[in-house]
Symmetry: C2
Subunit: 299 residues, 2 copies
């Protein structure tokens, strides 16, 4: 039995909730322009670990928020994540042909459509959070969710991290440089996911700071394991080309540290994350299980 | 004297306000990653007609809103506009080398940086509208602004319009098809600009509907004139390659209607727009002047 077994009853349901909710949120391919909506649905629905959505649900669960309230923020973070993957895979960026076990968006469609589908997936995240039909949280909390997600997605988060990443191959980065880059590229959205789950239940700044202190090392641990898996697992398991980082000479936690120290580093980060929840007066079971899952996952 | 002379005292000030505000909102090129912030500033600051910002200011002016309140929404629409231009100019899309009288973003930088700068400019629009430091309007109104702007930018607005536009060259579109495409590609953001100016002062649905009825024909008139200028003005005046539409065989209001009927069509749309403000109990002077400017402009 793994330490993440507490999540077993949740994964399937969360993934189903996310897909059902995204089915409803992303316009049907019968709505004009069909090509764009088809590409958005292709990139957004039915695949992916839903790790970020799980963080929203787990954080909300710890604060006794209902899953009905958490669906929209969980979809919003998955929409931003899907957008970033579509753009990262473009020929001008990482030029990856395979994603989530199928051709990447610009391969299945074309480059222009993939750029615009990515753009529109990002927009949709902010549209659903601000939709007047979604009235389950007060306007002030929803505005704070918009702001949290926007900051994570922008030039000081995701987009900035990707620029730093693209320019890393020509450098010989230290662990610190690598961690700073991934804090933006992967960490910012993971932190936003946990915070948005929290914002579904509270605006207590002490609780939100605790969640942030849990999320920050967790996001880094997630990326360390991602790098280890890229270098040690096979393409079928990953759903994207294995060894792609090595092939393009991309510095990773694996190349900088080596496998055993990288795994140890991830374990230390996991302990930090779990430590941030010590004496947490609320039910942190699922957040702790997710920290374990982060290291135990195979893809 | 032109009919848009009422705007003369405003243009310079509005453009200065926008540039000063964007200077503050877009992170400095000294902040990491410098390349990304430089590209965002290149694409966002110091050029452009600021037509959409002017619509925000003019709509707010009609409802006695102060310019201090209007600055952020005006910047937000200009950020979305700048984002859309950067992506539209990409090689996979319109492949334009010149924009606002200088090399387009992917020419001045590179393609990856341009894609990410566009992404981050869009994100920034939502970030500034939801910034807790901007407290000049209640959370509910700001959330409505986020929603208005997101809808205008997404698959049923800008992004969708661009997909329809890219697939237009292979067709022989009717006036109706062309208008429906431009209603999204150009019209949606123009409508959102007017509405966001309105939302800075009121949530009265009757007033907002009036503003929408003004903005919708205006957006179309703006594009009709854009097409006429593309086919009849020179590159220096336009700040982008003249005749580009014709060169790529792109159907336009000019190619579908011919010049005189296109200008007549724009005049009819302008009258519709102005007509929507009849018996408007508020001061519509600047909105009416902007409707005239839309037809009188040289670029």
């Amino acid at each position: 039995m793994t330490h993440s077994h507490h999540l077993d009853p949740y994964w399937l349901r969360w993934r189903q909730r996310i897909d059902q909710c995204l089915e409803r949120l992303i316009p049907s391919a019968r709505i004009s322009p069909p090509l764009l909506h088809e590409a958005m649905r292709y990139a957004g629905i039915g695949a992916g670990k839903r790790y970020r959505a799980a963080l929203v649900y787990a954080a909300g669960h710890a604060l006794s928020s209902s899953e009905e309230i958490l669906d929209i923020p969980a979809c919003a973070v998955e929409l931003v994540h899907a957008f970033s993957l579509v753009h990262d895979d473009l020929p001008a960026m990482d030029d990856d042909d395979l994603r989530r076990g199928k051709p990447s968006c610009h391969k299945a469609f074309d480059e222009a459509t993939a750029i615009l589908a990515g753009d529109a997936l990002q927009t949709l995240a902010f549209e659903v959070l601000s939709d007047p039909a979604w009235v389950r949280r007060p306007a002030a909390s929803r505005l704070q969710m918009v702001h949290t997600l926007a900051k994570a997605s922008g030039s000081l988060g995701l987009a900035g991290g990707q620029v730093l990443d693209l320019n890393l191959a020509s450098q010989d980065p230290t662990l610190k440089t690598l961690a700073a880059m991934h804090q933006r590229k992967t960490g910012a959205l993971i932190e936003a996911s946990v915070l948005m789950g929290g914002l579904c239940a509270t605006d207590d700044s002490e609780i939100l700071t605790r969640l942030k202190n849990y999320a920050r090392p967790l996001g880094l641990a997630f990326q360390v394991i991602d790098d280890v898996l890229d270098g040690t697992a096979d393409t079928d398991t990953l759903g994207k080309p294995a060894g792609a980082d090595r092939e393009r000479g991309q510095p990773t936690f694996l190349s900088v540290l080596g496998e055993a120290p990288a795994r140890q580093y991830a374990q230390d980060l996991r302990e930090q994350a779990i430590g941030a929840l010590d004496d947490f007066e609320l039910d942190a079971t699922l957040l702790i299980a997710l920290a374990h899952f982060t290291l135990e996952r195979s893809h």
